[in-house]
């Protein structure tokens, strides 16, 4: 299976990690996603995707500091790897190409 294909949710999570930059960990990513999309996102789904992305080598992680409100548990902080970055770039270029290929009048009916 080709590993560098991404699902929609995976792509969004990967982008969110990039958005949060230094502070990307499970709970923060979930909150940010909810804020950005307006949909309710389940924490476990995010964790599952993070885990999968890390296995696909698109994310790397390190353990951060422990805080009191976390019950003394450490965060796992994620950052996008070069591969992740390239994959996102690839997706974006594909989209852009597609957008540019659309004839100007085609989408007018939709009121954009």
């Amino acid at each position: 299976m080709i590993r560098n294909s991404l699902g929609e949710f995976e792509e969004v999570v990967l982008l969110t990690v990039a958005v949060l930059h230094e502070g990307a960990y499970g709970s923060a990513i979930t909150d940010e996603l909810e804020k950005q999309t307006g949909r309710s996102v389940s924490l476990s789904a995010v964790h599952a995707v993070l885990h999968r992305l890390e296995q696909k080598a698109m994310l790397s992680s390190r353990l951060g500091e422990a805080t009191a409100e976390r019950g003394g548990r450490r965060k796992r902080l994620f950052s996008v790897t070069v591969l992740g970055h390239r994959t996102l770039q690839g997706i974006r270029e594909t989209r852009n190409r597609l957008w540019e290929s659309i004839l100007p009048k085609t989408l007018q009916g939709l009121g954009i």
């Binding site: 960990y25 389940s42 476990s44 964790h47 019950g71 548990r73 965060k75 796992r76």
Partner: protein
């Protein structure tokens, strides 16, 4: 107190969640819980926590098996190959040690396997009869002359009584086994030793392979005979023998109705032919006359009980049968002796079954295992002794990441490999040794490599040996601390040295014990051999008498004497090595009324004393000059003692109603068991009762010529029968067969044990000598003499051997004393046996050790001290 999320949800998460993910997940959950606690209140926060926690019940978060790459490989193909590679290398590196290990183990295994096979063979006796567990021999306990005896023979009417009146009996047969007969047919005639007279039931009780003819009907007609295949071939050649006529004992024509295939060797019952017992009844007046006589015991009776009958209960039930049937019989109890006990548990002492051959089977089984253990001990000792050398190896291995388990496996691999090579060598040894053991009870033991069960169990023994001998070194060596070992501060502790010493002591204790036992067995045999026999066994030939020989005895005797080779000829009612008659109808003045005392009765005529070489203490032999000698009797010492006459010659006693006069007293004759007291014997004058003819050769005459001459003369008077003879001294020697066998086997095993022990000791000595090379060099430089050094190197081992002596002597004494007790006529266990055995062991040890000691003591100190 701070509000906490629900414990159970946390626990659940902890239970299923992989620990590497647990921390971050639980942290996130906590963080969100705390935030919601402030925003939504406790209840909501808890509910949300539970929901989110349960959300993690999905595959990515589950606990995983630890990845194999993160721990050590124990059993991967590479590692196993590596274990064996290392094992081979260490075998090749240490050639002497490997040789000692493999050699010792191979010898130990070879004998353990051989003894195992022998034990298996002995245990398999009589086990091939499907109904075997319901078959038993009727025996009887008697009290006679104040002695409690158990006999196999029973009276004839017992057969009819059990057959007709006891519903528990399913089948029953009389057995008259092992009688000598002549058979002739088709122009061939021969004498067979194992003729058997049985009832038709016999063939259905026992599972002997009768082909050609059916087991059910082959013995129905009294005038029928079943031949063994070999006998049929000897008589009829290739022709079909069924239906043909055979002449038995040159008198009776009987018809062949069946052929028995070769009998299994592991059968207690062996026969050359089977004839219905009813045939015997038809032709023998003796049997006809004894049909209702409960007092004459001469017959074996064997029964098969109905399914579900209790053998013990039945044994009790028939107990008093003889006494009930004949009021004059006293102190007799019948009992059943089960088939399964015939071969191994045939001895009764004081009416109690005391085992029999099973004692030897057990004994040698144990010794076999012990010999194998001794070989294992060698391996352990040498491995631990070399531990100092290998300590560094272990240290390095551990330092580069070898796990304890891997080292254990590696060392076990080494020992299993050694054991396996030893096993292959032992197979070779077995092939070589097997033929040498033929006369030691191994003639019917076979080692068949196609027998997978056997091969499997033998391989199992091999594996077991390897693991057993490798376990101690494996755990000991692999437990070294790498830091200590590599720093060079390691010294194999006292513990391992002590263990080694204990093992050496136990090895030698066993070996010395075996040597002592062997010496005692041989001493007992030679003691019994040196016992005065009472007649001269040398130059005495015994010939079984036939009808023709008895009829022509007078001219036969004359011709034999005229031949010039023969000194004396006589005839008797029995051979010199067995008792045929034991009569209880003797009486004399002063005999206590009602006392049950029987005397052996030997019937003979003139010149018996010359032929047998009797030694007279008082009186004279039978003489032609005295007409009254037809009613004369000669007693042996034991009989005189029983009768108690002061001045016996000329006095009279009675045999039944017949008055007989004592004419002489002879020294005790050993006719039966040379280990038992001699039974009272009466030698009666009766020229009619003839079973054997005795010839005494002139001393110094050419044996071959004498036999050829005798053969010609016998042929003249007995043309229909082949000339069969036996030497009395050889027959007499057969009485020592069991003891000889035991003695030889014990000697071999003792030799093996001491050999293997010495092999190990040699290895140990060479090791210590090597270890102490520098010390010896320094001592030499400082002025120690050769003798000093020799003493220093040997002392340690001498002490060990002395301790072994101290341990083994009382144990050997105890067991051999017990063994000797079963012999009435037995040798003393004198102190010199122990002294000699100990000294012998010490000498062997010194010889073994001294080679190494001398070598070490002779080394030039310059050489041993030069290098560091």
């Amino acid at each position: 107190m701070k509000t906490q999320p629900p414990r159970w949800a946390q626990r659940l998460l902890e239970y299923f969640c992989d620990e590497r993910l647990f921390e971050e997940i639980e942290g996130d959950l906590q963080e969100r819980f705390q935030r919601r606690l402030n925003l939504l209140g406790e209840q909501q926060a808890r509910r949300q926590y539970i929901r989110e926690a349960l959300g993690f019940v999905r595959s990515f978060a589950f606990k995983r098996k630890p990845k194999t790459s993160s721990s050590t490989h124990l059993f991967s193909a590479d590692m196993i190959r590596n274990y064996f590679k290392l094992a081979f290398r260490s075998l090749f590196n240490q050639k002497v040690t490997s040789f000692i290990n493999i050699g010792g183990l191979a010898v130990g295994m070879a004998f353990a396997i051989l003894i195992g096979l022998w034990v298996q063979y002995e245990m398999s006796f009589d086990s091939f009869h499907p109904n075997g567990d319901r078959i038993a021999l009727v025996m009887k306990h008697t009290l006679f002359n104040g002695q409690k005896k158990s006999q196999e023979v029973t009276p004839l009417p017992l057969f009819y009584e059990l057959q007709n009146n006891y519903p528990e009996v399913k089948r029953i047969s009389r057995m008259d086994l092992g009688s000598q007969h002549s058979l002739s047919a088709n122009g061939n005639s021969l004498v067979v030793k194992d003729g058997a007279f049985v009832d038709p039931d016999f063939l259905e009780m026992f599972d002997f392979p009768v082909t050609a003819g059916t087991a059910k009907t082959a013995l129905k007609d009294p005038y029928s005979i079943i031949l063994t295949r070999a006998l049929a071939k000897a008589l009829f050649g290739k022709a079909n023998p069924i239906g043909k006529i055979v002449k038995l004992d040159n008198a009776y024509d009987i018809q062949v109705t069946g052929i028995a295939e070769a009998l299994p060797k592991n059968s207690s019952i062996q026969f050359d032919f089977l004839v219905p017992f009813e045939f015997g009844v038809a032709v023998s007046d003796f049997l006809k006359n004894n049909k209702t006589n409960w007092g004459n015991n001469f017959l074996k009776t064997v029964v098969e009980l109905k399914e579900g009958s209790d053998m013990q209960a039945f044994s009790k039930k028939i107990g008093p049968l003889n006494v009930q049937k004949d009021k004059s019989i006293k102190n007799q109890t019948l009992f059943l002796h089960p088939l399964s006990q015939w071969h191994l548990r045939g001895n009764y002492v004081n009416w109690v079954n005391t085992g029999g051959k099973i004692v030897y089977v057990r004994l040698f089984g144990i010794i076999g295992i012990v010999v194998l253990l001794i070989a294992c001990i060698n391996f352990m000792n040498l491995s631990t002794a070399r531990s100092e050398k290998r300590a560094k190896e272990v240290g390095v291995r551990k330092a580069v990441g070898s796990a304890h388990n891997q080292l254990v496996l590696q060392f076990l691999c080494e020992s299993v490999l050694t054991a396996f090579i030893a096993f292959l060598v032992s197979l070779l040894l077995i092939k070589l040794i097997m033929p040498q053991l033929k006369d030691l009870g191994f003639e019917n033991v076979h080692f068949d490599l196609n027998n997978f069960n056997l091969l499997g169990s033998v391989l199992l023994i091999c594996l077991f040996t390897g693991v057993l001998s490798g376990s101690y070194p494996a755990f000991y060596l692999s437990s070294f601390k790498p830091v200590l070992v590599l720093k060079g501060k390691f010294s194999p502790g006292n513990r391992s040295i002590n263990v080694r010493k204990v093992l050496v002591v136990s090895q030698f204790a066993v070996s010395i014990g075996l040597i002592i036992s062997t010496v005692i067995v041989y001493k007992q045999i030679s003691y019994a051999r040196d016992r005065p026999v009472g007649y001269r066994t040398d130059n005495l030939i015994s010939i079984d008498a036939s009808k023709d020989l008895t009829k022509n005895f007078v001219p036969l005797k004359q011709d034999l004497l005229n031949s010039g080779f023969i000194e004396a000829v006589s005839k008797a009612s029995q051979p010199m090595t067995r008792i045929y008659n034991r009569w209880s109808d003797f009486s004399w003045t002063g005999k206590e009324p009602g006392s049950d005392i029987a005397l052996d009765a030997l019937m003979t005529e003139w010149d018996f004393e010359k032929a047998a070489g009797l030694k007279f203490m008082q009186g004279r032999p039978f003489s032609r000059e005295y007409k009254t000698d037809s009613n004369a009797v000669i007693l042996n010492e034991a009989a005189l003692k029983v009768i108690g006459y002061k001045d016996p010659v000329g006095k009279t006693m009675r045999s039944g109603d017949r008055v007989i006069t004592i004419v002489g007293i002879v020294e005790n004759l050993i006719l039966e068991d040379p280990y038992q007291p001699v039974y009272p014997l009466a030698i009666l004058f009766n020229p009619e009762a003839v079973n054997n003819i005795f010839l005494r050769l002139k001393p110094g005459s050419d044996l071959k010529k004498a036999l050829a001459e005798a053969h010609a003369i016998f042929k003249r008077y007995n043309p229909s029968m082949p000339f069969e003879y036996s030497f009395v001294d050889q027959e007499f020697d057969k009485k020592f067969a069991t003891e000889n066998q035991v003695g030889k086997l014990a000697a071999i095993l003792a030799g093996i044990a001491i050999f293997i022990s010495c092999l190990g000791l040699y290895g140990l000595a060479s090791f210590t000598a090597e270890q102490r090379t520098k010390e010896m060099g320094i001592r030499k430089v400082l002025g120690a003499s050769f003798a000093n050094l020799f003493q220093i190197l040997s002392k340690e081992f001498i002490v060990l051997i002395l301790i072994s002596c101290l341990i083994s002597i009382p144990i050997a004494w105890y067991f051999m004393n017990d063994w000797l007790r079963k012999y009435y006529y037995r040798t003393e266990i004198s102190w010199w046996i122990f002294a000699a055995s100990g000294l012998g062991a010490l000498c062997i040890t010194l010889l073994t050790v001294s080679f190494q000691s001398i070598k070490a003591a002779l080394v030039n100190p310059v050489k041993s001290l030069r290098s560091e």
